[in-house]
């Protein structure tokens, strides 16, 4: 992918807080990243690490209250999406930034036909009339590989299987030729065969349409297969960012290393049990003042409890938020 091109999406210092009865939950803490045109950025981390909340925050999809996007800026097409009028934000959502969600079984409205649901953004953002929108909706269904597209426009979501529904979701997300596609664990709810089909479809669509993609997942295997660059999140922060090959060959953060060890191997000798990362993810009731991984980290030392490490560059396009330096011979973990 082109390096050094100006990013389509530039997120700086994003902070999101949830107000709850038990106090504030700091779900996203000063997250900064950018997205280059045509790039596929993988975002990994365990449940509750802030992957989805980050992506929802930057486009105003979190219900507020309880969510409160407190600081940061999200530059998209020269505008800060956190401070622009609602109308502009709505034009961006679905128009220039498309979304795919985790559960295709519940993400479509059960009482409207699939055709209607694809036509809705077309009519709103592209100003198409009914006939034009319908023609385009049919093309989109064909594009995402749904056979007999013309007839299936009039079917309801329950008449589609899970994988087919996710294809419909992709068709909706791509309806207005977005510059950016945000996919929030789009294959998690699908079985592996369907998952492989959806991955293949996204790869192919990316080749055809050339949009930038943010792919949120906790499945490192998926990331290895499709991403150009990877962000690792932990406790609402980005702890490591690297090109995909670098991340798998030279992981720097102890959390990334632990994460990679948890991938079960098909070929390896049969082990007694799966590798796990001991301990619990952090409870985010306060803004971090120390490294949030230190309680589970095998390399933690006293500085980790005093300061929250900032991200520092360790290679081309590779940075890490950690004080610890692995010994050179250990770098092939």
């Amino acid at each position: 992918m082109p390096d050094g091109a100006s990013p389509v999406l530039d997120v700086k210092g994003l902070k999101t807080v949830f107000r709850t009865r038990g106090g504030e939950v700091h779900a996203v803490n000063s997250v900064s990243f950018d997205l280059k045109p045509g790039e596929l950025l993988g975002v990994v981390g365990e449940s509750g690490s802030g992957k989805s909340v980050t992506m929802m925050s930057l486009i105003g999809l979190l219900p507020s209250p309880p969510a409160d996007v407190r600081a940061g800026e999200v530059l998209f097409g020269g505008t800060d999406l956190l401070r622009c009028p609602q109308d502009h934000l709505r034009a961006v959502r679905g128009g220039e930034i498309g979304f795919i969600f985790q559960d295709p079984m519940t993400s479509l409205n059960p009482v409207f036909t699939v055709g209607f649901q694809i036509m809705e953004p077309l009519r709103k953002h592209m100003g198409m009339d009914k006939a034009a929108a319908r023609k385009r909706a049919q093309e989109l269904l064909e594009l995402v590989g749904i056979p007999d597209a013309r007839r299936r426009l009039d079917d309801f979501p329950h008449q589609f299987s899970g994988g087919m529904r996710q294809r419909v979701m992709i068709a909706i997300a791509l309806a207005c030729d977005p510059k950016v596609l945000i996919a929030d664990e789009p294959t998690t709810a699908l079985d592996v065969t369907i998952q492989a089909q959806i991955l293949e479809l996204v790869r192919e669509l990316r080749r055809k349409l050339g949009m930038a993609i943010v792919w949120i997942t906790h499945d490192l295997g998926v990331i290895a297969g499709i991403a150009d660059r990877v962000i690792v999140m932990y406790g609402g922060q980005i702890v490591e960012q690297a090109p995909v090959k670098d991340l798998f060959h030279r992981p720097r953060h102890p959390y990334t290393r632990a994460l990679l060890k948890t991938i079960p191997s098909v070929r390896g000798e049969r082990e007694a049990k799966l590798n796990v990362i001991e301990g619990q993810p952090p409870i985010l009731i306060a803004a971090p003042t120390a490294c949030s991984f230190r309680a589970r980290c095998p390399h933690a030392f006293d500085r980790c409890a005093r300061e929250n490490p900032a991200r520092r560059p360790v290679g081309p396009g590779h940075d890490v938020a950690c004080f610890w330096d692995p010994a050179p011979e250990a770098s092939d973990a």
Partner: protein, 335 residues
């Protein structure tokens, strides 16, 4: 859908026959003598003749079968006769009310308009105000509007209509003299003035019943909206860039209305039978009041006929609610 409806209608036949039998048996077992109101000076042999004249000397099963024949054969024929001027029906074979000494169905037809106007209008008003209140309450959950709505509907639902009715009569009829306290059934609407008079006498009973209906339905609407507002498809609609108006009034409302419409449909039979107490409080000469006076007078044919009609309407609207469910929710297929 059509075969389903026909099948359900056929199943309704034994159901209704069974209901009619249960009503008959309950009335049969109930204490009370239709001749209790007659003076004690009537000699026993005359009393026996009177009983025979009412058909009470016959065994119970004969009287039940006779009622079935009258209700399902003679009365429909009579209806055909009165509509088309034919003469199929036996004029002496109709169900006769003992207290009115007139055909029960004729009296029911006379009383129906009052009930439909007062109770039916109250139901319509209740639905019309409940739906928007439910929508706004759910969308702005825990706002002052929602809290006020919750309070008012709790009051409206828990305070009985005979209490709110009497309070309204005392305040607006007795003290302020704004509205009449007694509903005048003989009033004919012929011009603007009589229309205003009719409207004024309807205000209080309609208000009392509408408050009660709206309390219930707005709660259903609110709960259903809240369920749907949290669904994933709402997030999808927002992610498509739809305006809040479209998200709420198209995507969420369409789904939320499915259970509410069935609740509304199931409530319609209560218009005919229900509001017995309100009709009594405001002296509205409708079906509810007819049933009460028939019970007091031991007018068994009238009670049997009215109760059965209410039961039949309940069965019918159950079916309508099920069919509506299938129409509104594409996931439901009956065939």
């Amino acid at each position: 859908m059509l075969t389903y409806t026909i099948r359900r209608l056929l199943i309704a036949i034994p159901t209704l026959l069974f209901i009619s039998l249960v009503i008959f048996l309950i009335l049969e077992m109930a204490p009370g003598d239709p001749l209790a109101d007659q003076p004690l000076t009537v000699p026993p042999e005359v009393r026996e003749k009177m009983r025979a004249a009412l058909g009470l000397d016959q065994p119970a099963w004969v009287r039940y079968l006779l009622w079935l024949k009258q209700f399902f054969w003679t009365e429909p024929l009579h209806l055909v006769d009165s509509l088309f001027g034919t003469a199929f029906a036996d004029p002496t074979g109709r169900i006769v009310s003992w207290q009115f000494r007139a055909p029960a169905m004729d009296i029911i037809w006379q009383r129906l308009p009052q009930t439909l106007w007062v109770v039916g209008l109250a139901y319509v008003v209740g639905v019309v105000i409940a739906v928007p209140i439910g929508i706004i309450s759910a969308y702005r959950q825990y706002s002052w509007f929602d809290n006020l709505g919750t309070f008012v509907s709790m009051v409206g639902f828990s305070v009985p209509t005979f209490f709110t009715g009497v309070v309204l009569i005392i305040v607006f009829a007795v003290n302020l003299h704004w509205f009449p306290s007694i509903y005048d059934t003989t009033l004919k609407v012929t011009d603007w003035e009589s229309f205003l008079k009719q409207a004024r006498q309807m205000v209080m009973p309609v208000t009392v019943l509408a408050l009660f209906n709206a309390s219930q339905i707005s709660r259903f609407m609110r709960a259903s909206m809240l369920d749907n507002l949290q669904q994933d498809y709402v997030r999808t609609a927002r992610a498509k860039g739809m305006s809040e108006k479209v998200v709420v009034l198209r995507h969420v409302l369409r789904n939320s209305l499915i259970p509410v419409v069935t609740v509304i449909a199931l409530g319609i039979p209560t218009i005919f039978g229900g509001a017995i107490i309100t009709e009594q409080v405001f002296k509205v000469n409708g079906l509810g009041q007819l049933l009460i006076t028939a019970i007091y007078a031991n007018d068994l044919p009238m009670v049997q006929t009215l109760t059965f009609i209410f039961a039949a309407l309940t069965v019918l609207f159950n079916l309508i609610a099920d069919v509506l469910y299938g129409v509104l929710d594409p996931r439901i297929r009956y065939d």
